[in-house]
Amino acid sequence: MSAGPSLRGAKRRSNPAGVGSRSGLLRFARNDGLAVIALTLAAPAFAQSALPPSRYAYSQLENPRQEAQAKALMETLRCLVCQGQSIADSDADMAGDMRALVRERIAAGEKPEAIRSWLIDRYGAWVSYRPTVEPITWPLWAAPLVLVALGLFLARGRFRRKAR
């Protein structure tokens, strides 16, 4: 899921997962076996920051209640470079920095939904995995109700026929 969309972007932009360098390598390594070896060896060496990860990228908050809040929020925020993953699942540098941002703000007492809207204000609703309630998503929210109503209506007809 994540490799598909990011391949195209990687042609132009640096991808911390090293995907861009892979397509280049493939051109040179004609032999499949060689290519596989080259991929495993070379991918991490490209396009990664030399700086160590942010403090809260890979460490939990000391307060378990806050960490639980942060975790729940991170699982519903999209990683911007990998796009098919949440920031909780991604090892990209940028996702690590975003986790650090989320944890620091939660530790500072900010509400998870305030952090979500701060990000949506910058990246649009796509950055959040939780669908927002707006005209374009109304059908999405209405669909389950409509389908249940339709099912009840059909069932009602069935039962009536049986009773007869």
């Binding site: 195209r8 132009r12 861009g20 920095d97």
Partner: protein
């Protein structure tokens, strides 16, 4: 009426299949555009990324004249590819400031020495905070900021030779 109703599920299914088929044929759009265009540059004060350039603050971008803000990194391969275009923009009189994402001072200095130095000010963004505040989703990205500090244009990805004119046009439009 009843007969028509019988065909309804199939019709719905066909609409679904056609929608999916069209969606699958379209190449995926993986660009996440910033929604900060037309908004004021968020406040920030970055430390200098290298010793021989002044640091960058949001205040520097409200100087009364438009500027380019290039979000880059020495570890980013496309940033090397766009370096000649940034130099060309500089030669055409476009002032450029840099935000170095997750970078070490010595790496930035080596990068500028090798690929050219189009920057006036360079701020270090070691935890990508300014990048998030800008709504930037990767490196490189280039923003045109007008004299009041309002973001006017975003270029996602490396600036190719064919993009130089459009960046200059966006810069002129921000005057």
């Amino acid at each position: 009426m009843r007969k028509l109703l019988l065909w309804l599920p199939l019709a719905v299914f066909l609409v679904f299949v056609i929608t999916v088929a069209i969606g699958l044929r379209k190449p995926p759009d993986t660009e996440i555009r910033s929604t900060m265009i037309g908004k004021l540059m968020p406040d920030f004060a970055l430390r200098p990324a290298v010793a021989n350039h002044p640091p960058l603050t949001a205040q520097d971008l409200r100087s009364g004249k438009p500027r380019l803000v290039n979000v880059f990194a020495s570890w980013c391969v496309p940033c090397k590819a766009e370096a000649p275009q940034l130099m060309a923009l500089k030669r055409r009189g476009v002032p450029i400031d840099g935000v170095a994402i997750r970078d070490r001072s010595e790496d930035v200095a080596a990068f500028l020495a090798e690929y050219g130095d189009p920057f006036e000010r360079i701020g270090a963004d070691p935890a990508s905070r300014v990048q998030f505040a800008l709504g930037s989703s990767g490196v490189p990205e280039t923003f045109v900021v007008d004299g009041k500090g309002v973001i006017r244009h975003q270029h996602i990805g490396d600036i190719r030779p064919e993009n130089v004119d459009e960046i200059v046009a966006a810069y002129e439009a921000a005057r």
